[in-house]
């Protein structure tokens, strides 16, 4: 490398053109989505640098999540109904929650790494970029292998929809996609709230996963098999019951064990939106706390 004198450096630089006027802030959600997509794209490309590893882990992810369902199938080798539900009916519950959870896990699942970023100080780098931190954290280490879980959930759901004995009224037909999207949003809100908590307690990731992964496992079974208080907890405290239980029970034409009013079967979208409010508030509070304490 040749040494350059300042004069040479200056001579090589083109005359400074006018600096562009910096854009004013745009609509935040659109900006966030854009930044999210940009970063996700980078991670997907990074993943593809190790293609074999990606294929193996995606297949492993598919198989690992499939073991849950295999357990249920093995149970049905001995019984005709679990908690009064046939195998296709349990499969409907299973497929619905797995798909919803899979979507949330794919899009926001890496947020449990926030605690580590806070601890090692790399969160600061995200604060230097002109994009919402939430979008950046959500896209961080985006793991395409998690498509395995969604794939498995969709396969089971598809099988269940073909096999359940249900009268497919327009309402029931519409309820299925609404259930999947609402469920994904509810799980997403749990992820965001959990990440916000990691600003305060950096080791909290595993407690969060007992709510997300544990909740997902619980929702795979009919609500009737669990203790009432447990069902009340996942209905009124962390409203996971709205992910699949209440809408799916309506589709299957079965009563819910708590005897809740019938209109709640359709409340999942509203509950999902309501969940976003405390999650967003927790996130803002967490980020504010970080910017004022830096720890």
């Amino acid at each position: 490398m040749a040494e350059l004198t300042p004069g040479e450096v200056a001579a090589a630089l083109p005359a400074a053109a006018g600096r562009p006027e910096h854009q004013e802030p745009r609509w935040q959600p659109a900006e966030a989505m854009r930044a999210y997509a940009l970063i996700v794209r980078m991670w997907v490309r990074s993943t593809m640098a190790y293609r074999t590893s990606f294929v193996l882990t995606a297949l492993g992810n598919l198989a690992a999540t499939g073991l849950d369902f295999l357990t249920i199938v093995l149970m049905f080798a001995h019984i005709h109904a679990l908690g009064g539900f046939t195998l296709p009916e349990v499969a409907l519950l299973y497929g619905a929650t797995s798909t919803s959870f899979g979507i949330a896990d794919l899009t926001l699942g890496s947020m449990d790494r926030l605690g580590r970023r806070v601890r090692d100080g790399t969160l600061d780098v995200l604060l230097l970029r002109p994009a919402p931190v939430l979008a950046q954290v959500a896209a961080d280490r985006f793991a395409l292998r998690r498509l395995g879980r969604i794939t498995q959930g969709v396969l089971v759901l598809g099988w269940a929809l073909l096999r359940v004995d249900v009268r497919w009224s327009p309402v029931n037909v519409a309820l299925v996609p609404v259930m999947l999207v609402s469920g994904a949003v509810i799980f997403g809100a749990v992820y965001v709230a959990g990440a916000a908590f990691q600003f305060l307690a950096q080791d909290a990731a595993e407690v969060q996963s007992s709510v997300t992964y544990g909740g997902n496992t619980m929702l795979q079974y009919p609500p009737g098999i669990f203790a009432r208080d447990l069902v009340r907890g996942v209905t009124f405290v962390v409203p996971l019951a709205f992910v699949n239980w209440l809408p799916a029970l309506h589709v299957l034409g079965r009563p819910d064990p708590l005897g809740l009013p019938g209109w709640l079967d359709f409340a999942s979208p509203a509950v999902a939106l309501l969940c976003c409010l405390p999650a967003a508030a927790a996130w803002r509070a967490g980020l504010r706390a970080y910017r004022s304490t830096g720890s």
């Binding site: 190790y50 193996l56 149970m75 109904a81 595993e206 407690v207 098999i225």
Partner: protein
């Protein structure tokens, strides 16, 4: 040399003992999953009492023993294997092979230390949690508990033997992710973590009960539940010990081949 490896065991124990918040979080997760699985078992045994020869309290005991063994047997990973694979991939393993300490014995000692801590840190609390919430069939005879501990120890050695083989595969496979993942899936399924192997239908059950993974949960749980008595208990322990010896011997063979490979490549 015994003193040396004893020190490695102690160090393995102490090392995991420092991860206090991770241990606490793990206990919470184990308890949550234990709770959920327990209710699904209650529903199952409601329909089929005495399924697999277990009464409902026995089935519930099985659930919580499973949660207690999850970390001890490193069924979801978290043992030494990632570290060993990293050392193989980075080439640091050449230095390890040069040391006077035997590679396999060294890592076995460290893993025994880890398992001992996990048994106390992540095994006891979920069991207590399960015993408080459900009616469990825990034995009162101290002898049964003692046999259980021996069985757990043998299970850990079998678990180590399997994971050591998987880790050594990093000498030949560029990417250890696939091997680790396959091993984990096989471990979860064939150990009886998802469902007791006695409940597996027909031939699948028979094969599963003969494989080494059953030594990691099915056998210790059955020992605790008093299903193996007298000579039966000895046979169960012998089954575990047999797999342990076989796997350790296989690991030693593979280690020898790998060591020659490192020497040929010049480290």
């Amino acid at each position: 040399m015994g003193g040396f490896y004893g020190a490695v065991v102690t160090r393995g124990f102490r090392r995991y003992a420092t991860y206090r918040s991770a241990t606490a979080a793990g206990v919470v997760t184990n308890s949550v999953f234990g709770l959920i699985i327990a209710y699904s078992y209650i529903a199952l045994w409601d329909q089929r009492p005495h399924l697999g020869g277990y009464s409902e309290p026995q089935a519930l005991t099985y659930v919580w023993v499973g949660q207690a063994m999850l970390a001890v047997m490193a069924l979801m990973g978290g043992g030494f294997e990632d570290e060993l694979m990293d050392r193989i991939r980075s080439g640091d393993i050449a230095v390890d092979l040069m040391r006077p300490a035997d590679l396999q014995t060294w890592w076995l000692s460290a893993d025994l230390g880890r398992a001992a801590f996990q048994l106390l840190g992540r095994g006891v609390a979920p069991m207590v949690c399960g015993a408080l919430l459900f009616d469990l069939a825990l034995p009162s005879a101290p002898g049964t508990w003692l046999l259980f501990l021996v069985s757990v120890a043998l299970g850990v050695v079998v678990s180590f033997g399997l994971r050591f083989l998987v880790a050594l595969s990093a000498f030949w496979l560029l990417d250890g992710v696939g091997a680790t993942q396959m091993a984990m899936l096989a471990g979860l399924f064939f150990s009886g973590m998802l469902l007791p192997l006695n409940v597996f239908p027909g031939g699948l059950g028979e094969v599963a009960r003969a494989l080494p993974w059953s030594a990691m949960l099915q056998v210790p749980a059955d020992v605790l539940l008093g299903r193996h008595r007298g000579t039966g208990a000895l046979a169960a322990l012998a089954f575990q010990a047999g797999w342990a010896v076989l796997l350790l011997a296989a690991g030693r063979q593979l280690q020898g081949v790998a060591a020659r490979r490192v020497v040929v490549q010049g480290g």
